[in-house]
C-alpha cells in the first residue's frame, strides 16, 4: 500500500514540477539565484547517495582497506571521468568489486 501512495504522490509532485513553468511562463520567471541552486541539485543529491553507499556499512562508517567498495568506486570514478562511458563505468566498477571480494574472502 505504502509504495502505491509513494508513486502516486511522487508522480504528482514530479508532473507538476515539469508542467509548472510551461503553464506559468508568462507570469513568473525563475530568479537567477534559484536557477543556480537548481543546477546544483543533481550533483549534490547523487554525491550524497554515492558516499553513503560506498562508505557506510552496517550502519557505521567503514574507511578500512577491507571495504572493497572504496577502491571499486575510485576505479569507476576514474573511468567515468576519462571516458564518460556509462556501461564501461558499471562494468569496471562491478568487476573491481568482485575481484577484491574474491581476493579478500
Amino acid at each position: 500500500m505504502k509504495i502505491w501512495l509513494i508513486l502516486l504522490l511522487g508522480g504528482l509532485a514530479t508532473y507538476l514540477t515539469r508542467l509548472s513553468m510551461i503553464l506559468l511562463f508568462t507570469h513568473w520567471q525563475i530568479p537567477p539565484w534559484l536557477g543556480r541552486a537548481l543546477r546544483l541539485v543533481p550533483a549534490a543529491v547523487f554525491s550524497a547517495i554515492i558516499a553513503q553507499e560506498v562508505f557506510i556499512q552496517n550502519g557505521g562508517i567503514n574507511l578500512s582497506f577491507h571495504n572493497e567498495r572504496i577502491l571499486a568506486a575510485l576505479a569507476a570514478t576514474l573511468i567515468a571521468w576519462r571516458t564518460k562511458h556509462i556501461l564501461l563505468t558499471l562494468g569496471v566498477g562491478m568487476a573491481t568489486l568482485w575481484a577484491l571480494q574474491a581476493f579478500f574472502h
Partner: protein, 233 residues
C-alpha cells in the same frame, strides 16, 4: 482564440524526434534494468515497480526510492522525490517559450514527457530553430515517447531479471556506480565540484540520522556551498 494551425509535417517531426533521441536510449536502457532489479531487491512488488516507471517516469528519483523504501516514512520519501526532481523546473522554464503557442492539451502531454534525456535533445533542436514559435510539438513528442517506451521496456526486463538473479552478487552496488557514471562527467566547475564534495562529506557524517534524513541535509548543505563557491563568475 484562433484555431492553432498544426505544423504541416507533424508526423515527419515526430520521427525526426525519435531518431534524435535514439543515441540516448542506449544509455537509458541499463538504468531501467538496474532500477527494476533494485526495486525487487528492496521488496517492492513487480507491479508497483513497473507502475512507478509509468507514473513517476524519472530514473534517478525511482532509484532513490528503492533506496529509501524500507526505512523512510512515506512523506519524507515523497519529499525526496520532489527535491530530486526540482531540476525539472529549469527544463520547464527553458522550454516554455517554445511551447507557449500550443493548445493546453499539448502542454499537459509534453510536460509528462519532460525527462532529462528528452530535454537534452529537444532544447538543442529548438534552439537551432529560427523562431521560438516555429518549434514543433511533434519533435518533442517523438523524442519523449521514444524514451518513454524504452524506459517501460527496460524496467520490465529489470523486474524480470530481478526475480531471477542470485542475491549474493552485490548488485546493490550498481546504484552507486550508476550515479557515478551520471554525475562525474558533469562536475565541470567549482560550484558543482563543491556541491559534490560537501554533500558527500555531510552524507557520510550524518548517516546515523533516522529515516535517511542525512541525505536531504547533505543535499541542502552541498547546494548551499556550491552556490556560495560558484558565485563569482
Amino acid at each position: 482564440m484562433a484555431e492553432p494551425t498544426a505544423p504541416p509535417s507533424l508526423r515527419a517531426e515526430f520521427w525526426r524526434g525519435v531518431r534524435a533521441e535514439f543515441p540516448l536510449l542506449i544509455g537509458v536502457a541499463p538504468f531501467g534494468m538496474i532500477y527494476g532489479v533494485l526495486a525487487l531487491a528492496a521488496g517492492i512488488p513487480a507491479s508497483a515497480a513497473q507502475a512507478m516507471s509509468a507514473v513517476v517516469f524519472a530514473g534517478s528519483a525511482q532509484l532513490i526510492t528503492t533506496q529509501l523504501y524500507t526505512a523512510t516514512p512515506l512523506l519524507l520519501t515523497v519529499l525526496t522525490i520532489f527535491v530530486v526532481n526540482l531540476r525539472h523546473l529549469l527544463y520547464s522554464a527553458s522550454l516554455a517559450p517554445y511551447l507557449q503557442k500550443l493548445r493546453p492539451g499539448w502542454k499537459f502531454l509534453l510536460a509528462y514527457l519532460l525527462t532529462d534525456e528528452a530535454y537534452a535533445v529537444v532544447i538543442a533542436d529548438y534552439q537551432r530553430n529560427e523562431h521560438p514559435q516555429a518549434a514543433s510539438p511533434g519533435f518533442f513528442l517523438g523524442a519523449g515517447l521514444a524514451l518513454w517506451a524504452t524506459w517501460q521496456a527496460s524496467t520490465a526486463v529489470g523486474v524480470f531479471l530481478g526475480a531471477n538473479l542470485p542475491q549474493n552478487w552485490s548488485l546493490d552496488f550498481t546504484l552507486a556506480l550508476t550515479f557515478i557514471a551520471i554525475i562525474v562527467p558533469t562536475l565541470k566547475d567549482r560550484g558543482l565540484l563543491a556541491a559534490a564534495v560537501v554533500a558527500s562529506l555531510v552524507a557520510i557524517l550524518s548517516a546515523g540520522l533516522p529515516y535517511k534524513l542525512g541525505l536531504l541535509l547533505a543535499a541542502l548543505l552541498g547546494i548551499l556551498s556550491g552556490t556560495w563557491l560558484g558565485e563569482e563568475k
